[in-house]
């Protein structure tokens, strides 16, 4: 009973504290600067406890922008592997959803969900900051609800 209450609180705190790690796998920069714009006064992602962190070992949510190119595949997989467990992936922008206009290029291997499991898709070219924010919050919902993401 008591333990359950603690568990509930911890899960709730997972929803309130979201540390985001951003990987660019070959995006055109459009989505990246929109992610940066999240931290301006207008969108102010910090009010939801969202923080951009520098090391994947601290991260809860992986933001991926851009189609996966040949050379950036390994860094993406490494970064995903390094994230500790309750983790979710948000793919931002139409290129990371499907490849976008670059889908037929020889150097683009495909969308992000060919390589790592993606929990939330945010469309748009480039995605609007509000939508990115919404995507991150949905990922937080998934993080605190889905049982298999929790190891204990």
């Amino acid at each position: 009973m008591f333990l359950d209450a603690i568990k509930q609180f911890l899960r709730y705190s997972q929803k309130k504290s979201l540390w985001v790690f951003h990987v660019n796998t070959g995006s055109c920069n459009g989505c990246d600067i929109e992610i940066l714009a999240l931290f301006s006064s207008k969108y102010d992602a910090e009010r939801f406890g969202i923080k951009l962190v520098g090391s994947p070992k601290h991260a809860d949510i992986l933001l991926v922008t851009g189609p996966v190119t040949t050379k950036s595949r390994d860094p993406l997989l490494r970064a995903y592997d390094m994230m500790p467990k309750p983790k979710a992936v948000v793919s931002v922008g139409v290129c990371s959803l499907s490849g976008g206009v670059f889908a037929k290029s020889y150097n683009v291997l495909g969308p992000v969900d060919n390589f790592i499991p993606v929990h939330v898709y945010v469309g748009g070219c480039s995605a609007h900051p509000n939508m990115i924010l919404e995507g991150i919050l949905r990922a937080a919902q998934i993080l605190c609800e889905e049982e298999e993401l929790w190891s204990f």
Binding site: V23, P56, D74, P75, R78, A79, D81, K85, F152
Partner: protein, 587 residues
């Protein structure tokens, strides 16, 4: 009686080693030295128990009776608080280091007889110096220690560097001898030493500066590091460099206190050389030289503590002398292990050794925590006593400097820990194993145990070792109940054990589920990691203080003075020669 034995057995051992120098076995000579020092320690302990029971007593050996009317040359060993204190820790440290040396010296090919003869001779003469009541014999023993140091530094006498270092050390410590001689002569010959105490103290001060490596005469000690490590540990960390401190205490006893001017001089000279030592230590990349400069800095605390003149100050000085012998000896032993394991003394070429030498790392951590004054180890207690004494004696600058130097000490030992023990393991050290070093580690453990024990229960050392010396010096006994707050102590232990329990649960009972091994994050690519060198660790400080380092090295000024004197003598010589020519010119 036992007093004489304890010194005599070491001289006997030295004689045996010298006579059987042809037996080219490190085991034989090493065990002999270990045995003799252990026997000496045993005898000293017997004496100590007797001293505690019955109070002061002395052992008298009449010598050179025919000259007695002129000067008293009897060999007198006296067991009082001060003498026994210095003798006991010297003997204790030498036991540990001799045990260590048995294994260490097996790497050599020859010269075991020579080495151990001089080691035993050194321990004997150090004990003789500390126990002797007669100043003449003290002087003889004092010079003998210097001679042994010369011989031991020049152990690899074929190498130019070693012989040069030995000569340098010998010359500089010889200056100390003259200072001591001056002090002793004035003291014995003058009817009232109080009148000439300035002269006496000047002599003693020179002895202290040169022998106890204080500014500006410490320049021989970095060179002395070219000796084998047991020598560095025993002579240049534990015993030889304490001779000067011992002399200060002895003259404090003989003169019954120092005048105000000398006290202040000692405080600030001690703190100044301490600061110089630690600043030079910060930039060293050679592990033994770094330790050598720390010897300079730590002895500064002792000299400064004597200068404070209060009972807490002298107690801190005495306690720090003891502690320094223990932890610095230990650190040198660790440095020796590192040197033998990696065949280099350069910190930059080591790295990641903690995974291969875990026991050595623990020993190092104990030594480093002690010297940098982490609470719970002995260095903290003596340093704390020093700060408290300094601020009580209204010398806040000394207290502040002491604290500051302590943080710098911490920094330089963190540097050693990081660059040598942590980081990435070097390719050539992959095959390293700790097995061959077990005997050496045992020697280190002998020195490490008191570090922890005195850190947690400093009352033991203070009641049994320091208070007798203080009462001899006519000072109030100090009484530290160090951890007087049961809440804090119980709380600390409680947190520690609770936390350790949780950690063990996390790491050993549940590792599969929650701990996952991945690569190090290097920006996503798999790049090789190189260790930053020891210089990188303090690059900014080195840059910032580059001018200081260039100007503050006293060696260059000493050389200038020497060449000036040389020029003077040359001038006198040529003038005399000219005069002679004029004289002897046939008219």
């Amino acid at each position: 009686m036992f007093l004489g034995f304890s010194v005599g057995v070491l001289f006997l051992g030295a004689l045996i080693s010298a006579l059987f120098y042809r037996i080219n076995s490190p085991k034989f000579h090493g065990s002999l030295a270990f045995l003799t020092s252990a026997v000496a320690l045993y005898f000293l302990n017997l004496t100590f128990f007797e001293f505690i029971k019955a109070g002061e007593f002395s052992w008298h050996l009449p010598l050179f009776r025919w000259i007695r009317d002129f000067i008293n040359l009897d060999l007198i060993f006296k067991a009082n608080g001060l003498n026994l204190f210095f003798a006991l820790f010297g003997a204790y440290v030498s036991v540990g280091i001799n045990l260590y040396a048995i294994k260490y010296m097996t790497h050599e090919k020859e010269g075991f007889g020579r080495f151990y003869a001089f080691i035993q001779l050194f321990i004997g003469s150090y004990l003789g110096l500390t126990l002797s009541e007669n100043l003449f014999w003290s002087y003889v023993f004092f010079e003998l220690t210097g001679l042994c140091s010369y011989q031991l530094i020049a152990f690899w006498y074929q190498s130019d560097l070693s012989s040069f270092s030995a000569k340098k050390a010998f010359l500089m410590t010889h200056i100390a001898g003259y200072g001591f001689l001056l002090g002793a002569l004035v003291f014995t010959l003058s009817p009232d030493p109080k009148v000439y105490q300035d002269l006496i103290l000047a002599g003693v001060l020179i002895a202290v500066l040169a022998k106890s490596v204080q500014w500006p005469l410490y320049t021989w000690i970095p060179y002395a590091m070219n000796a084998p490590t047991p020598v560095s540990a025993l002579l240049h960390a534990a015993c030889l460099v304490k001779c000067g401190v011992y002399l200060l205490f002895k003259f404090y006893l003989l003169l019954g206190g120092f005048p105000e001017f000398w006290k202040n001089l000692l405080i600030y000279l001690g703190m100044f050389s301490s600061l110089m030592g630690v600043l030079f230590a910060l930039k060293q990349a050679d592990v033994k030289k770094l330790l050598a400069y720390h010897t300079v800095s730590q002895i500064g605390y002792m000299v400064s503590g004597i200068g404070l003149g209060t009972s807490l100050g002298l107690a801190s000085s005495l306690f720090h002398t003891l502690n320094h012998a223990l932890f610095k000896g230990l650190l040198f032993l660790v440095a020796g292990i590192l040197q033998q394991a990696t065949h280099t003394r350069d910190l930059s070429l080591m790295g990641g050794l903690a995974s291969k030498l875990p026991k050595t790392t623990v020993l190092y951590l104990i030594g480093a925590a002690s010297i940098s004054g982490i609470p719970g180890f002995n260095g903290f207690v003596s340093k704390w006593m020093f700060y408290q004494a300094a601020i009580e004696a209204n010398h806040p600058l000394a207290a502040a400097l002491g604290l500051f130097i302590s943080t710098l000490t911490t920094l330089s030992f963190i540097k050693v820990l990081d660059t040598a023990f942590l980081g990435k393991l070097d390719e050539k050290n992959k095959q390293l194993s700790e097995k061959p070093f077990y005997l050496m580690i045992t020697g280190g453990i002998i020195l490490a145990i008191p570090c922890v024990v005195f850190g947690l229960f400093p009352q033991i050392a203070i009641t049994f070792l320091i208070n007798p010396a203080l009462s001899l010096l006519n000072l109030r006994e100090v009484n530290i109940s160090f951890y007087q707050l049961p809440t804090v102590l119980i709380g600390a232990l409680f947190i520690l054990f609770l936390g350790l329990g949780i950690l063990i649960y996390f790491t050993w009972l549940k590792p599969k589920e929650i701990i996952k091994e991945t690569e190090v994050f290097k920006g996503g690519e798999d790049e090789p990691v190189f260790n930053p060198t020891a210089d990188d660790f303090v690059a900014d400080i080195e840059n910032r203080l580059a001018n200081f380092y260039k100007k503050a090295d006293p060696d260059q000024y000493l050389l200038k003075i020497c060449s000036f004197i040389e020029g003077l003598i040359l001038k006198v010589y040529t003038t005399v020669k000219k005069l002679e020519q004029i004289w002897s010119k046939p008219c």
